[in-house]
């Protein structure tokens, strides 16, 4: 006979929270570049979905109609989580990030099962997400159609979970839009959506064979106002004729 001791670690207390976690990443290969074609040094990354007030998903063209109007863009964007996520957070490389976002998908309209979008914003002040949005100069909108994984074990990977799921977690990387996540070419079949911005031509400095997803310029607030005012004047003149 012999005696022995078996040790088992006490695990941490585990309270089941009704919340979801989505890890937002851009560190496989492709990252983000600014509209001038340089790896993005600062900016904020939001996850959410574009939908109407009744929960209807918006088409790419409907989203693109707000490409010059950041406030209009945001008014149709249901954001997941208030967790801050910034370029170079969780990665030391420009244009990259790796951050866990915690929040709820029980929004109004709901996010449950909806398409996950990346909304990348770069402003003159990127110290917070709010600052990026308030001073936005460039924006990019991208997603991998959730239908890409339909019928596979990854079904739902690009759709928001339900807080009540047993595993309400997702991990997405912008390189998922590219073949084998290598950042060289977009997936075939039209599943990769570059709604605002471009895929390349800038390459990642950290992964030179990979293209980055570039942001698009949006007018400065003052310029935007002037454009709006100018358009209004033009309309008035036309009506008078």
């Amino acid at each position: 006979m012999r005696a022995f001791l078996i040790a088992a670690l006490l695990l941490a207390s585990g309270e089941l929270l009704q919340a979801s976690t989505v890890s937002v990443q851009a560190d496989d290969s492709s990252g983000f570049s600014d509209a001038q074609g340089a790896d993005l040094l600062s900016g904020s990354v939001l996850l959410g979905t574009f939908q109407l007030a009744n929960g209807t998903a918006m088409s790419d063209s409907a989203v693109q109609a707000f490409a010059m109007d950041i406030s209009g863009l945001l008014s149709h964007f249901t954001r997941f989580s208030t967790t801050e996520a910034h370029i170079q957070q969780g990665s030391s490389n420009p244009g990259e990030l790796s951050v866990a976002l915690n929040g709820t998908t029980a929004t109004t309209p709901t996010l449950v099962g909806k398409q996950i979008y990346y909304l990348v914003v770069s402003g003159t002040d990127n110290s917070t997400v709010a600052a990026s949005l308030a001073t936005a100069r460039q924006v990019g909108v991208y997603y991998l159609d959730k239908a890409f994984f339909t019928g596979t074990v990854r079904d739902g990977d690009w759709a928001f979970p339900d807080d009540n799921d047993f595993i309400p977690e997702r991990t997405v990387d912008i390189a998922d839009l590219t073949t084998n996540n290598l950042g060289v070419s977009l997936l075939s079949g039209g599943y990769s959506h570059v709604v605002i911005g471009t895929f390349g031509p800038d390459h990642s400095n950290a992964h030179p064979t990979a293209f980055n997803f570039e942001l698009a310029n949006i007018p400065e607030p003052s310029a935007g106002l002037m454009l709006t005012a100018g358009a209004g004047l033009l309309l008035r003149r036309r009506r008078r004729r």
Partner: protein
């Protein structure tokens, strides 16, 4: 009894046991003992708490010997595979039917084909050669034998754990009974479905789902089953200790990993780590597939609030090796999988594989 070389860990439950098992045919030396599994408190009224647990100990060995032959049949053959042994000393139907549900485990050193794989026993028969009077016992198996199993493998037989065996026919091992919405839930993932068992105190017995009458105490808890205990209802303030008594698993263990989610037990009465688990073997046909965070197979470990997700990074910015999602370049190979705990392997790459975990600890 004397203390062993197992060193109690900080904040650990110290468990103690000893013995040498005897079997009908061959004496074995698997030590037995007990393990205490903490069941987390919910923390607040109406809240739920989940605990990823494994039984950590096995039923005693009922028989151990060396086969005289095996019958391994082609895929889709109507003839089930079987193992035979001469003069086993067992009786007909000793390991099936009314005696309960038993399984065979093939034994062997690391690298021996099939070592650590398990098979449910369908029938136990005896036949006497009229010429030689040699008695041969045969175990008919429910699953096909692993490829390339030797003609005369060593094997042992254990009885399966059932819910009633592990947690008490009258639920006397520490879980809270009640209704489907108030009792502690034993959740088992099977065939893509979460099966939720509880002990009904109104019409006493183990029940499944919202069924209040059908006895499911005899439900088998397989060696690889990762158990999730969900504490709910009024049982919000207490952390319960469930005591499991059984035998320590020795030798390597082989569990199937299939596409999708796999809730897996640490089968050993000792902690392992991602690095020591042998979950990654460099070959996606025998272990988790490496890749990026979203392309590699994932290992999810519950941290008390949500899941820490790990994967074997093939490179990219995180570098190569075990990594935690959002954990940067930090080596995660030392991440613990404690004794008595379970975890999830999410196989997202094609094909299935057998996870062959080496004995923990390496020696006793």
């Amino acid at each position: 009894m004397k203390p062993s070389s197992f060193r109690p860990l900080a904040g650990a439950v110290v468990l103690l046991g000893l013995s040498v098992l005897g079997s009908a045919q061959t004496a074995t030396t698997d030590p037995v003992g007990f393990m205490t599994l903490p069941i987390n408190a919910a923390g607040a009224p109406g809240a739920k708490a989940i605990s990823f647990r494994a039984l950590g100990l096995f039923r005693p060995v009922d028989f151990q010997g060396v086969a005289s032959s095996v019958s391994a049949n082609p895929l889709n053959s109507p003839t089930p595979d079987s193992i035979s042994i001469t003069s086993p000393g067992w009786t007909a139907n000793q390991f099936n039917g009314a005696n309960g549900k038993y399984y065979v485990e093939l034994l062997g050193a690391a690298g021996v084909a099939g070592a650590g794989t398990t098979y449910d026993i369908v029938s136990t028969t005896l036949a006497t050669d009229p010429n030689t009077q040699v008695v041969t016992g045969t175990l008919t198996l429910a699953q096909r034998l692993a490829d390339n199993v030797a003609g005369t493998p060593a094997f042992r037989i254990r009885k399966h754990w059932t819910i009633a065996d592990a947690f008490g026919a009258a639920n006397d091992k520490g879980l809270a009974g009640g209704t489907a919405t108030t009792a502690d839930i034993i959740q088992v993932y099977s065939g893509g479905t979460y099966l939720k068992y509880y002990y009904n105190t109104a019409a006493p017995g183990w029940r499944l789902g919202t069924d209040t009458t059908t006895d499911v105490g005899g439900t088998v808890l397989y060696p690889d089953d990762g158990l999730v205990i969900i504490r709910q209802g009024a049982n919000t303030s207490q952390t319960t200790q469930v005591v499991v008594m059984g035998a320590v698993k020795t030798g390597q263990t082989s569990f199937p990993i299939v596409a999708g989610q796999n809730f897996l037990a640490n089968p050993y009465a000792a902690p392992m780590t991602l690095g020591s688990s042998n979950l990654y073997t460099t070959d996606p046909a025998t272990g988790v597939a490496a890749g990026f965070a979203t392309t590699a197979d994932q290992v999810l470990i519950y941290n008390g609030t949500n899941y820490d997700t790990y994967y074997y990074s093939a490179g990219g910015s995180p570098g190569a090796g075990w990594r935690k999602v959002n954990g940067g370049t930090a080596d995660a190979s030392a991440t613990p999988i404690p004794a008595g705990s379970s975890f999830i392997v999410k196989r997202i790459n094609p094909g299935s594989f057998n996870w062959v975990s080496p004995q923990h600890p390496v020696s006793f």
